[in-house]
């Protein structure tokens, strides 16, 4: 065609760090501590739930209710009503989506108009930026910064109250937060969320709260839902993920919980986008939540067992990195760890990456030359702040022990100069 074929909304959002780096890890058959997915299986009860659903009769293979399989929205409403102390209506206040990714997409598409400002806390999961761009919104960034230089815990990375307040303008439509945070692992404390809530209420702004790692907190840190703070239920869009919750990222079952007047707009997007989610996977996630509802707080609960297991993996990865002279920032939650690589001297010897930022070059070198895949942290920063944070790389530790052992071997060999 002689004229432009593509829609302008696809401009500037064609590059994607996941597409690029998962391909690279695959090409070099690297030990993969890059993309965030478990390399172990979902728990047995979850796999069984799926099998039961698949064998559960003809209706499991045909369309279910568009906005969410009845059994799933019911189990989500029941479960989260108890967790939040707020009565959640399964049909009005819940929307099931294709992964939390699509929940984010529906939120931005439904609520953000051309020219609306959206505050994004950095470091951020990269799709927030591209999704805001796609709707013609204006990204306004505010970084988390280490309170103390050389600080070694995600707890020390905070928002400056003045800086945050200065980002709110009459055109601000929403703020996006992610707790526990990817990639840093920060778990926002109640006071921090209250500060954000106060500004949302003062400026009448919506809050999109990405809580996909909500069950993964360590060291006694508690996950707090901003929607449960006074005045916040009616303006918060809380996003969750079956994939992260049950270690089944390939099922792509996510959800949004919010006040009905907001959900209804997201339903409009959804019904013009995919209209239904697969039935069997939703049935399986429903059964899994029903089980967890009964076992909540007990040692058999997967929401106790998974963080306990990952706490151990976190420790293992951290000591392995420290033993080779790398400085990890201990995450309070989530399953990622960022590592400061500024003290490491490497000759990249790779012309193909010479125009890229330091961490991109480092990650590519580490993948190609050493066979260890990670993700560059500046991918989680805005163009204006990327340069400040281009000496960090992200490791994922939701992996089998054997994978972490293999990574350890690679790191030792490298640092010993072999």
């Amino acid at each position: 065609m002689s004229r432009r074929i593509h829609a302008r909304r696809t401009e500037g959002i064609d590059k994607n760090v996941w597409v690029e780096f998962t391909q690279l890890a695959a090409d070099y058959k690297a030990v993969n501590l890059g993309q965030g997915f478990p390399d172990f299986s979902p728990p047995k009860f979850v796999q069984e739930a799926f099998c039961d659903a698949v064998n559960g009769g003809a209706q499991m293979h045909q369309y279910t209710r568009a906005f969410g399989h009845p059994r799933l929205v019911q189990s989500l409403a029941t479960f989260f009503s108890r967790v939040t102390g707020h009565e959640i209506d399964p049909l009005e206040d819940v929307l099931v989506t294709v992964g939390a990714y699509q929940a984010l997409f529906c939120a931005f598409q439904a609520l953000i108009d051309e020219g609306d400002e959206v505050i994004i806390v950095e470091p951020f999961f990269d799709c927030y930026q591209t999704m805001v761009k796609m709707v013609g919104g204006k990204e306004v960034y505010v970084p988390l910064r280490p309170k103390v230089e050389g600080s070694l815990s995600s707890a020390d990375w905070t928002l400056s109250a003045e800086e945050l307040a200065s980002k709110f303008t009459p055109r601000t439509k929403a703020i996006v937060i992610n707790t526990p945070n990817n990639p840093l692992g920060k778990v926002y404390k109640t006071e921090e969320l209250q500060m954000i809530a106060d500004l949302c209420i003062k400026h009448d702004v919506l809050c999109i709260s990405d809580e996909v790692y909500e069950w993964l907190t360590y060291d006694g840190n508690k996950h707090v839902k901003i929607a449960s703070l006074p005045g916040m239920w009616e303006r918060t869009i809380t996003i969750g993920s079956g994939g992260k919750t049950f270690s089944a990222t390939g099922w792509k079952v996510g959800w949004v919980i919010s006040s009905g007047h907001i959900i209804k707009h997201m339903k409009t997007i959804f019904q013009n986008c995919v209209y239904h989610c697969p039935t069997a996977a939703q049935e399986a996630v429903a059964r899994a939540f029903e089980r967890e509802y009964e076992l909540f707080g007990s040692p058999e609960s997967y929401f106790q067992q998974l963080p306990a297991m990952l706490h151990h993996r976190r420790g293992k990865l951290a000591s392995c990195l420290q033993s080779v002279g790398l400085q990890p920032i201990m995450p309070e939650g989530g399953y990622f760890m960022i590592v400061d690589i500024s003290s490491v001297k490497v000759d990249f010897n790779d012309d193909s990456t010479k125009d890229e930022s330091y961490d991109y070059r480092f990650v590519k070198w580490l993948t190609k030359e050493k066979g260890l895949a990670t993700i560059p942290v500046s991918a989680f920063y805005s163009p204006e702040h990327a340069k400040e944070f281009d000496k960090y790389i992200r490791f994922c530790f939701v992996k089998e022990e054997a994978t972490l052992d293999a990574a350890e071997q690679i790191l030792r060999k490298w640092r010993q100069g072999k």
Partner: protein, 417 residues
């Protein structure tokens, strides 16, 4: 609640949806549901088994390649490569999406811009119009018309007027959407009709979005032609397919777009910014389904042959009972829907006060009084064409015998009060 929490402009006026309205009404188990298009016959057992097996493999429960699980895109490239007679690159010329619906969405979002005109043939699967509008495009409608002489009583009686079609194309036309076999009429566009459309696409340099989700449901004496295989069309066509319709698993929500790299890449950009990837075990199972049937293609054991054979019997049975009841069905050449003219029933609906088209009232009345559900056809047309389509309802016949038996019982007793 304050006005700042209102919806974005892009969804203004797009909240109504015929399915949301009618599927809840028909969810009552005492109603015989020939409305929404999904099978109540079981899918082939090997497809369900493949899914159960896939989920028992650890890796299959985690993220796969965003644009499509490798085993699936490879299987699709083999199947469609064979059907189209060309080499199709599995990684660059195919995108896997959440249902055919998701492919339509990725196509519109990727290729339709503000101010672009998109020609849509009525009656159309209802989502085409809101999706075009959501992308900022302008739908330009053209109806299929019923020919006046020599009626066959089949979907072939519906045609596009060549001059009328030509008049819809102008310099703002970005694309035309075609659906063959067509939902709701079941028309299969002939090679000549597709050539006419292709000639206009080439002349005006427009794209073609071809929704072919019912491509395997072709009845005896007919052939499905892919417009992308006509000269000059591969480079400007996106062809959409569906696992749900292919393997009778609508609840799996997997579909795909096939086309040239320079178009598919924009759909891939949309995918990576909307859903990122489709479920892994489902894709693995569909890949198995295709691998198995690829070998059997052209033989009676192939599901793509056995399913239409099974459905043709149901089609003919349905048509006969409708005629007995005094309605006028149009026997479809393809697909699993039947268009039915209810004019001759002379059903008086003046007692129904809602300001709705006759077919909406008729379907509501039929659900209530006869316990039989269908879908009103004016849901599939624009305002101006409503008066030409309001005596038609759509029935779905991919139903098990007991459902058809129940429908038959109702229709046999129709004339009795």
């Amino acid at each position: 609640m304050t006005s700042r929490h209102k919806n974005s402009k892009r969804i203004e006026g797009l909240d109504k949806n015929v399915w949301v309205a009618f599927t809840s009404v028909a969810a009552d188990p005492s109603i015989v549901n020939l409305g929404q298009g999904f099978p109540d016959i079981p899918p082939p057992s090997y497809v369900k088994e493949a899914l159960a097996e896939a989920s028992s493999v650890d890796r299959m429960n985690q993220y796969t390649r965003g644009f499509g699980h490798p085993s699936l895109v490879k299987a699709l490239s083999q199947v469609y490569g064979k059907v189209c007679g060309r080499q199709i690159d599995p990684f660059k010329e195919i995108l896997v999406t959440v249902g055919g619906y998701g492919s339509l969405f990725s196509t519109m979002q990727g290729l339709v811009d503000e101010g672009d005109e998109v020609i849509i043939i009525e009656p159309f699967f209802d989502c085409y119009v809101p999706m075009v509008r959501m992308a900022g495009g302008k739908p330009v409608l053209i109806p299929l018309r019923l020919k006046s002489g020599n009626k066959t009583g089949t979907s072939a009686d519906w045609f596009l007027d060549p001059e009328e079609l030509s008049s819809k194309f102008n310099s703002k036309t970005k694309a035309i959407i075609i659906n063959t076999p067509n939902n709701p009429i079941g028309k299969i566009f002939s090679r000549d009709e597709l050539q006419m459309i292709a000639d206009l696409c080439i002349k005006h340099d427009t794209l073609c979005f071809s929704d072919e989700v019912y491509e395997w449901l072709i009845y005896r004496g007919h052939q499905h032609v892919k417009i992308a295989t006509l000269p000059g069309m591969w480079d400007r066509t996106i062809t959409i397919g569906s696992a749900g319709k292919t393997f009778s698993v609508t609840g799996w929500k997997l579909g795909w777009s096939v086309g040239p790299e320079h178009l598919i890449k924009h759909l891939q950009t949309v995918m990576q910014n909307t859903m990122h990837s489709c479920p892994t075990p489902l894709q693995e199972a569909v890949a198995h389904g295709f691998q198995r049937n690829l070998e059997l293609m052209g033989q009676p054991e192939c599901y793509f042959s056995s399913l239409p054979e099974e459905l043709e019997l149901k089609r003919d049975r349905m048509a006969a009972i409708l005629q007995e009841a005094g309605m006028t069905p149009f026997i479809p050449e393809g697909g699993y829907f039947m268009l039915v003219d209810v004019t001759s029933l002379n059903q008086d609906l003046s007692h129904m006060e809602e300001d709705e088209a006759y077919d909406y009232k008729f379907v509501k009345w039929m659900i209530k009084e006869k316990k039989l559900a269908a879908i009103p056809v004016t849901a599939f047309v624009g305002e101006e064409s409503k008066k030409h389509f309001e005596k038609y309802i759509r029935l779905c016949f991919i139903k098990q015998d007991s459902t058809l038996d129940a429908a038959e019982a109702i229709l046999k007793n129709w004339r009795k009060v």
